[in-house]
Symmetry: C2
Subunit: 331 residues, 2 copies
């Protein structure tokens, strides 16, 4: 672990010159060679920690996501990475596990590590961002919004919920349930609000509040909720799930019960990951996960570059709705 001093000594120049060489400042080509050779011999790599302490910033951006095992977030991460690398920034990923404490911990780290910026997919609405914001670190929220006045990029969740639900009614289903995520999570609330809006207008039978199920955001949550729905006195004949993983869970339960769409209607907000056998009756409302990432990264890059315009929110449409949803046959 050699330092610029050792390189300087070996090259017969001053530490400042070594620093200049490594930062591309003007140095006589004579000494450049000397320094490079010496650095080569000593296997010198500049110590980023020291550089950072000096510069108060690094070429690292932190990306905090709530669930690293959810393909939606990994796709988003890829987007962030692609964009960041273009600008010479490296991305470190932190998994907050939907836990506000872990989130706060990683935010602290990102700030006190002097990272160049932060992209945050917030675990909860009430994370402690004041801290970060007050320090003036560039930050952009993605997927879910925060109570703070910062840049954000999101999808039109309401519209996504509406599209999913409409697709089901259009296909001829009449008792459309909804498997939503945990209460209080914005994305889920909005999507299920979309569902409710359509259902109110197009008419589920009255008195079926139990058609709205809350579950955890993962596969097992979807499974539990779907089981509950099937056990209802008057089960629904179709379901909207407000994210991809719960969609997987719901489909698993249906499959285990010997029910295959379009016998039962299924629409999922999000993309079903790694599908092998997929009834083409399933509706998917594709979310632009990767695009969310690139957009957020672009915004962050602008801020890092010094852009000081007021905070913006960009809303991406969950535009692409796919899924040949034929009129149910076997009912």
């Amino acid at each position: 672990m050699s330092t610029i001093y050792e390189v300087a000594a070996l090259a017969g120049v001053s530490p400042a010159t070594v620093s200049r060489v490594f930062n591309g400042l003007s140095v006589s080509s004579e000494k450049i060679r000397l320094v490079r050779d010496a650095a080569e011999v000593l296997k010198f790599t500049p110590n980023r920690t020291a550089r950072r302490l000096r510069n108060q910033s690094s070429e690292l951006i932190a990306l905090l996501i709530p669930d690293i095992e959810n393909p939606f977030f990994t796709a988003l991460a890829r987007g962030v990475e692609d964009r960041a690398q273009q600008s010479g920034y490296s991305v470190v990923l932190c998994n907050t596990d939907d836990d506000p404490d872990k989130e706060t911990n990683y935010l602290d780290i990102a700030v006190s590590e002097n990272m160049a910026g932060i992209i945050l997919a917030p675990a909860s609405a009430d994370g402690d961002l004041a801290h970060v914001v007050s320090r003036g670190r560039p930050m952009v929220a993605v997927d879910r919004s925060t109570g703070f006045d910062i840049d954000a990029v999101m999808v039109d969740n309401r519209a996504a919920g509406i599209a999913a639900t409409n697709a089901l009614f259009d296909a001829g289903y009449s008792r459309v349930a909804c498997i939503a995520g945990p209460v209080g999570i914005e994305t889920t609330e909005e999507r299920s609000l979309g569902w409710r809006q359509v259902v109110t207008r197009r008419g589920n039978p009255a008195g079926h509040d139990d058609y709205l199920q809350h579950a955890n955001y993962r596969v097992d949550g979807g499974r539990a909720a779907m089981r509950t729905l099937l056990d209802l006195p008057t089960p629904p004949d179709a379901v909207v799930t407000t994210n991809n993983l719960m969609g997987v869970g719901a489909l698993q339960i249906l499959s285990e019960a010997g029910i295959t769409p379009p016998e039962f209607g299924v629409a999922v907000v999000g993309d079903l990951p790694f599908t092998t056998l997929l009834p083409d009756a399933i509706t998917q409302v594709h979310l632009p996960a990767r695009h969310l990432g690139t957009t957020a990264a672009s915004m962050l890059m602008e801020r890092i570059a010094g852009d000081t315009q007021p905070a913006r929110t960009i809303v991406l449409r969950a535009s692409v709705t796919q899924g040949a949803t034929p009129v149910p046959t076997a009912r």
Copy 2:
């Protein structure tokens, strides 16, 4: 962005005392209160960069994985995280994208950022680890081995390939192909070697070198390879894929061709992620992804704690083979 000096001034103590308070060293409760209050007022958080420059180390460990979109690696990451958090370490994830250059870049970062340790799922066999190793940073390899004398934790890939192939023959298939990953990647080589070993013994028809297909490690690779296999003059009646994602691709192509296992035998080394409709005829050789992660993290923690025993390699068995593979019916 306040410093210990400001806190010290406000609290009427010395910077050293502030430092001591924040590091839990003995300080009179009187001054502890003073310092805490001052820190509160100033919203002081210790600057990790400075601390690190001073300590030459941090409580951060870097995990480098080749494909963040592959559930195998995200499961592994979860394992690492769980174990690391237990010891008070935070994990930052870096996606090398199977690109040696990116890998080297992130390794450089990890080292020059003075991270406490590194867990590396190597992109290629010939990454430039000399650098890291020579600096004496604790490092453990996971999933694939390196040419270097460092700790490693892996699965018994040969055995996994053998188990998958045997399962297919046992079920009554007789022309068993193999979709392997890129040439030169250890895990894939080993697994396909396992396949070859069984096939040689239990007897594919002679002259079918084309039953071994190399593909990229992802879904589209599996798709392409499966298509090629089906187009062969004498197509196989079963296939082993050497990872999870290629398995997904193969199943997609079969499904699109209207072929459903067990009409055609499929065994995948790895776990099919997020399956919705899964013919129970499929054999899966489950890889202990998460366990790989926890084990690697444990080893790393030991090294960080100062353990200096010679490098160890731990081999985990891909023990659990699942999959009721009935004798094919419709042939």
